[in-house]
């Protein structure tokens, strides 16, 4: 167990390091050094930057030094919580991102929870009633789910919602709560708006999980211990839920490791279509305006959040599955 924990922690740290390097590369990518670009942008937006201030910025980021020193300096600033300025807004990056990062996580986690809630009963049903009409219907929906990129699904649903119900399904808050401070009412409003984006984001994952669950459970149901339990007269319901489902559930939890990055990734683009207040629209705007501190920081934070999320899910898995704990 300790080895597993150490191994996972090391990997998480390594991944976070890789993400910082990638984010730094993204900040560096546009032509010219980024402080010059930054100053040019500041000046074009009307702020006055003195030569002295420019020199200070250059020093701060070590632009006259080799690239690895620049990286280390940038990392040093990041560790102090200084992510630079978002030029378009004239505000520190941190303030611009605000609670959008949390919103991204709320939407992604909701999508995963919904994935589980939907996939579990359907997977069991499909396996127990194999080749029934319901099984075929879910298989069909599942294939469509796997084949439809989430942003296309969002577009289609948005069109249908508009055409047949004359409603706009976008957004996470009702207009009256948009700029309101957090309150019970606002949280409730969020909860009411959350299921649809979560469903859109989670559909592909749900479809996959249903297939996995169905296949695993079908394997388990053919095993002798199921026949033995049935012969002993256990009720069918208890029989299925108590043993085979528990065994089949395992890969279910372990898939969260790749499901989570996938869903965070998808949330970026779905947010744009549904205009959700996540970091997605912000990232796109920053990239188009070449506001590299903002873009790089968002990539960095999303990456780190994802790694932490996956790490936590691994710990959960360890807690649920004794084979990992003991092995």
């Amino acid at each position: 167990m300790v080895t597993f924990l150490i191994r996972r922690t090391m990997l998480a740290i390594l991944t976070i390091w890789a993400i910082t390097v990638l984010s730094f590369i993204i900040i560096q990518l546009p032509p010219g050094d980024f402080v010059s670009a930054y100053i040019a942008q500041l000046q074009s937006s009307g702020s006055i930057v003195s030569a002295q201030e420019a020199e200070m910025l250059r020093n701060q980021y070590g632009l006259d030094q080799p690239i690895y020193m620049q990286y280390l300096k940038w990392m040093g600033l990041v560790f102090q919580g200084n992510f630079g300025m978002a030029m378009e807004y004239g505000l520190p990056v941190i303030d611009v991102i605000g609670d959008r990062l949390w919103m991204t996580m709320v939407v992604s986690v909701a999508a995963i929870l919904l994935t589980w809630i939907v996939a579990l009963p359907i997977g069991i049903y499909s396996a127990v009633r194999q080749y029934s009409i319901g099984d075929y219907v879910f298989t069909f929906i599942g294939f469509i789910g796997i084949a439809t990129p989430s942003f296309l699904l969002a577009l289609v649903l948005m069109y249908l919602g508009f055409k047949f119900f004359s409603i706009n399904i976008g957004g996470l808050f009702s207009p009256e709560y948009l700029d309101a401070p957090w309150s019970v009412g606002k949280a409730w409003d969020l909860l009411k708006h959350l299921p649809l984006p979560a469903l859109i984001l989670g559909l592909a994952g749900t479809a996959q999980l249903i297939r996995i669950m169905r296949a695993n459970l079908l394997d388990e149901l053919r095993k002798p211990y199921v026949a033995a339990a049935r012969a002993k007269g256990l009720t069918e319901r208890k029989l299925i839920l108590k043993y085979p489902v528990r065994v089949a559930l395992n890969p279910f939890i372990s898939t969260i490791g790749y499901l989570f990055p996938y869903i965070v990734s998808g949330s970026i683009i779905v947010s744009l279509v549904l205009s959700l207040p996540t970091v997605g629209p912000l990232l796109l705007k920053a990239l188009i305006a070449q506001d590299m501190f903002l873009a790089g920081t968002i990539v960095l934070m999303l990456g780190v959040m994802t790694v932490i999320g996956t790490f936590v899910s691994d710990l959960l898995l360890m807690w649920v599955d004794p084979r990992i704990r003991l092995g």
Binding site: L11, L14, T15, A18, I19, L22, S23, I26, L29, P30, P31, F143, I144, I146, A147, T148, P149, F151, L152, L155, V156, M158, Y159, F162, K163, N168, G170, G257, Y258, P261, Y262, V264, S265, G266, I268, I269, L272, V273, L283, L284, L287, I288, Q290, A295, G296, I298, V299, L302, G303, T306, V307, T310
Partner: protein, 369 residues
């Protein structure tokens, strides 16, 4: 899908490996259907300009946002392909262009008509198209799937876009395949430190959300790059992250094959490593690789579509599914011109077809299972 064992043919014992795989594959009906669809789509991509009838870049404000109009097949009980003439006016109140069909004006539609010039495979100049209008320019008479705000014909653009998106998928999967075989092969063959490093690399890449990363990389492409440069750059960006699954499959196969009798026999017989790998190991997992590659293409196509949809991938005048869908981004445009969402249909069909094909190939790759 599983047929009872009794229908196994009698020559099962003497059928070659390839025959067994083909039989297994044919039993998978969805995979057969998927395979046929994929072939049709790629043939269509090859003849994209032939299937298009209007110049995909030909803009005309007079035809802005024209709704789809069908081709009529019968005229007074006789087979005669034609479309109705159309006149467009601007609505004085809403400033929307409204189009009125005139059933009395019939424009005949001809097969194998002449239209704009294009080059087959970029070489042979021709102006032949599957359909065209008689006595009028196709651009003015035909509007199978409607037109966009600039009056460009959606059907024709969809044909060209299909070609772009499908070839990007194929190209990036080729690069991914190269990386996957190289790194997966190294990892599986040498094991030890090399294996650990490559495996950690794969785990790291898989745990990073890809779309933000792609967006960051794609946004850095210089604005002044031409269509072809961006096309190849996007292809490379997509494949740089997409190789991990292929590498995993290759590594797994290497690991399991290393212990097989025939590989050990080859080693004992004194074969060189290169010969063992390419003569003995690769042929026996080639079919698995083909299956995994097929299953990897949809992800590549989705990536390109997503990036271009965001405006960070291919840029106009390039045409791809993503570029086309960019026009359908907001609820306002969808409300006025829902046909702009049509490019979503081939995306879903192709991805579905490739998934079924890949599933079937994967089953067929192991005909003894």
């Amino acid at each position: 899908m599983a047929e009872p064992l009794t229908v196994l043919r009698e020559d099962i014992g003497v059928a070659t490996h390839r025959q067994l795989m083909w039989r297994r594959f044919r039993r998978h009906r969805m995979a057969m259907a998927g395979g046929i669809l994929v072939i049709l789509f790629y043939l269509g991509a090859l003849a994209a300009d032939f299937l298009a009838y209007s110049d995909p870049l030909d803009t005309e404000a007079q035809r802005s946002l024209m709704p789809p109009r069908p081709i009529h097949f019968f005229d007074q009980g006789r087979l005669s392909l034609h479309v109705y003439g159309i006149t467009g006016k601007r609505d004085p109140v809403s400033f929307k262009r409204v189009y009125v069909e005139d059933p009395d004006v019939k424009i005949p539609v001809r097969l194998f008509a002449r239209g704009y010039t294009w080059r087959f495979l970029g070489l042979i100049r021709t102006d032949l198209h599957l359909i065209g209008a008689e006595g009028a320019r196709a651009e003015e008479a035909l509007s199978l799937l409607g037109s966009d705000t600039l009056g460009r014909d959606l059907w024709s653009r969809l044909m060209i876009g299909t070609r772009t998106s499908l070839t990007i998928g194929l190209l990036s999967v080729t690069i991914s395949l190269f990386l996957g075989i190289l790194l997966g092969g190294l990892s599986g063959y040498y094991s030890g430190t090399v294996d650990v490093i490559i495996q950690r690399l794969i785990e790291i890449i898989r745990s990073i959300p890809t779309i933000p990363l792609w967006m960051g990389l794609a946004a850095a492409l210089p604005r002044e790059w031409g269509v072809m440069q961006v096309y190849f750059a996007i292809t490379i960006i997509i494949s740089l992250i997409g190789w991990t699954e292929l590498a995993r499959v290759v590594r797994g196969k290497f690991l399991s094959l290393r212990q097989e009798d025939f590989v050990i026999a080859a080693r004992l017989a004194g074969c060189r490593q290169i010969r063992i790998i390419f003569r003995h190991m690769v042929p026996s997992f080639l079919s698995h690789i083909i299956a995994a590659t097929t299953l990897a293409i949809p992800a590549m196509i989705i990536s390109e579509t997503a990036l271009s949809f965001l405006g960070l991938g291919l840029r106009p005048p390039a045409i791809s599914w993503g570029v086309l869908l960019q026009d359908a981004q907001t609820i306002q445009t969808l409300a006025i011109s829902p046909w702009l969402l049509i490019p979503a249909v081939p995306v879903i069909i192709v991805i579905l077809a490739l998934n079924f094909l890949g599933d079937g190939l994967r089953d067929a790759a192991d005909p003894y299972a």
